[in-house]
Symmetry: C2
């Protein structure tokens, strides 16, 4: 009998456990102050409304809520999303929407639809690690979205234009137009990951890439951008509800793939979400924005107060993330080891967020789960770790050599 490894498909050489994810599993200890998890503050889930929605749906829809349903998703939910997309500059109808198991599944289905082994995906540096996890199974190569040269076989451009995970960065209007110009010149399909778009707490909204694409191409049916939305950051990730908004020929194929993958998203969860969002969704979003604005502000204050010279960081206008650059020579993974051991503070090292040419001296900090006081204390501890490494730069090297021994 062969070993299992001999039996696995060739694509599995591209699918590897993330050491970081494995490490982060160990962070549940209550004495650790963690900037690691990129997940919403559970205090913000509309738990009561969700609870009464489950009750109402089961009373009113009864057995239908517990039965199989169509692969494209609940018509009522798709219509609501289409209306919301239309209000955000993307005139469309429910035929342009497929419901997915979070936007993670949207990325997987899009990879499955477009990527043949060896095709290139262009991504930002850094980019969302989970997108790489979805695409890797389809064996693409990767290129830098901002590099001068577009590699041969480039097919997809993947980006998070608003308050990106991990960088917290928002693209300007001009940068968005430039991406579309480039996509048009090289016939790239653009994947707009809009996971955080509803969480703007500062500055003014930029049009989505899809809205700009529709404006220039005349209609969603002529656009080349596929917009991935989600309720995971706004309602609850546990419902596993996201969507793709795209031209119909793309939606039709995604529905076929969805059917082969898992038939459809949980019927009852779709009904519950449709009910919860029907009632003052914008008021709910406003509460989230107030909350994250306070956290983001505490984060900026703490970083300015505690971080030593030579450390820089992003100032997000929304979302959950600050991207920190330590001086060259410091390594995020080693900093994490030290931070956990010496100061009981956690974050995610930046290197795994790069599809190409990782920058080891970067860190992702999420302010979504800590109180303003916790943020201040956590940053103070983290600053001490960075300072100690700056004072004794050799300690990184020793640590790395020990690790290799």
């Amino acid at each position: 009998m062969n070993t299992w490894t001999d039996r696995f498909a060739e694509r599995m050489t591209h699918v590897r456990a993330s050491e970081i994810r494995e490490l982060l599993k160990l962070l549940d200890q209550p004495d650790i102050l963690s900037f690691a998890g990129g997940i919403p503050d559970p205090q913000l889930f509309p738990a009561e409304r969700i609870q009464s929605a489950y009750e109402d749906v089961l009373k009113q829809a009864g057995a239908q809520a517990l039965q199989y349903s169509v692969s494209e998703g609940l018509p009522e939910l798709r219509r609501w999303i289409a209306a919301r997309m239309s209000a955000d500059g993307v005139s469309c109808d429910e035929g342009n929407i497929v419901i997915t198991a979070g936007s993670q599944q949207a990325l997987d289905l899009i990879g499955k639809l477009f990527l043949t082994r060896g095709d290139a995906v262009l991504a930002e540096r850094p980019t969302y690690m989970g997108a790489l996890g979805a695409f890797n199974a389809y064996e693409p190569t990767y290129g830098d979205l901002d590099a001068q040269e577009v590699p041969a076989g480039a097919r997809l451009a993947y980006l998070v234009p608003d308050f990106a995970n991990p960088s917290g960065r928002t693209m300007t209007r001009r940068e968005r137009e430039a991406v579309l110009d480039r996509a048009s010149a090289h016939d790239l399909v653009v994947i707009e990951d809009a996971a955080y778009r509803e969480l703007r707490f500062a500055g003014t909204s930029e049009p989505s890439l899809l809205a700009l694409d529709v404006a220039r191409s005349g209609s969603i049916e002529s656009a080349r951008t596929l917009y991935c939305g989600t309720f995971s950051k706004t309602l609850s990730p546990a419902l596993r509800l996201g969507w793709v908004c795209a031209p119909r020929p793309v939606i039709d194929k995604l529905v076929l793939l969805k059917q082969g993958c898992d038939l459809h998203v949980s019927t009852i969860n779709q009904m519950v979400a449709a009910r919860v969002i029907a009632e003052d969704y914008d008021g709910h979003l406003e509460r989230l924005r107030v909350h994250y604005r306070e956290r983001a502000s505490a984060m900026q204050t703490a970083l300015a107060r505690h971080m030593p010279m030579g450390v820089t960081w992003s100032k997000p206008q929304g979302g959950m993330f600050v991207w920190l650059k330590a001086p060259e020579g410091l390594d995020g993974a080693h900093l994490l080891e030290a931070a956990l051991a010496e100061e009981r503070v956690a974050f995610v090292p930046g290197a795994p967020f790069f599809a190409v040419e990782p920058q080891a001296n970067t860190l992702r900090l999420s302010y979504s789960l800590l109180s303003p006081e916790g943020i201040d204390e956590g940053v103070r501890r983290l600053a001490r770790v960075v300072e100690a490494r700056l004072a004794h730069p050799g300690s990184n090297v020793k640590r790395a050599m020990r690790g290799a021994a």
Copy 2:
């Protein structure tokens, strides 16, 4: 700009809409008696228990039920499943279980893990159409599991040993052992789709393929069988909850793939299922069995009463399906057209259930949704359609020619 079709990945030439599924979408009209849908009777969903479980979970687990959770699934649910598998002859623990979005996702993840383009999957004739839908995206070829020759590149053997969809057939112990012998001789990985296993209403239970495999190989860690289970036929398909039980190295890779595909199954739905099954699951299953036994019996009586000579059918010991063979020369797809137009009765033609060498004169009849009276009337109508075709055999040919014109 290229057309979308030019942009899709090569694998998409293997992913096609099923004409049958498209046709079945049109069957919602209330005057049609339908044997088509292979879905559970919604009367049998434990709706009240599910409703109170949602209430309890949201009250007790609160925000945790609405948060992200681990890709392998809820430990409590995995432990319950492992205990149940152990009681069914498969000694294992939660490390041998991954929770999937129904067993459909189990088939997709298994295809992704094992199939490289051109690998062969051996399947029964007929086999479950949805399994082909999952595997096709990984571009395998197909072979007949029962053929003398095993094709080069054969990697997976897929089968539904208990009350198969669509044939209703149950494999004998000897047939099960023979499959394992063959798998061992050709180093095949065996996919046991156990979707209907809990729905036996007649005869005596045969050991699962995995149980036989564990018995002969000594431990689940030495087995080559991957068991796919589901709560879709027993609790509710809308929760999207299934599992794979397999050796740990396989589970570990499936968890990685699950993470890239959609992170995890709905947290709250897993908690709800764990709560519902903790309370008299076997009593609930017994109610299902009584119900389906009555329907299956009505079906056999009606078929014997109404069907003309030359028509044969299977007698299932569980599950939801009867497989009917009309005399050679009759075509299930043409029969369906006539049945809908002339008698307002529906079923699924058999041909799409064949991965290789389809038999056009076959039909799948599901008795899960009709009352005993509805079953009798539906079979009476269907028998009239078959009789008319037998009396005027040329009508098929004319119909086919019209269709081609």
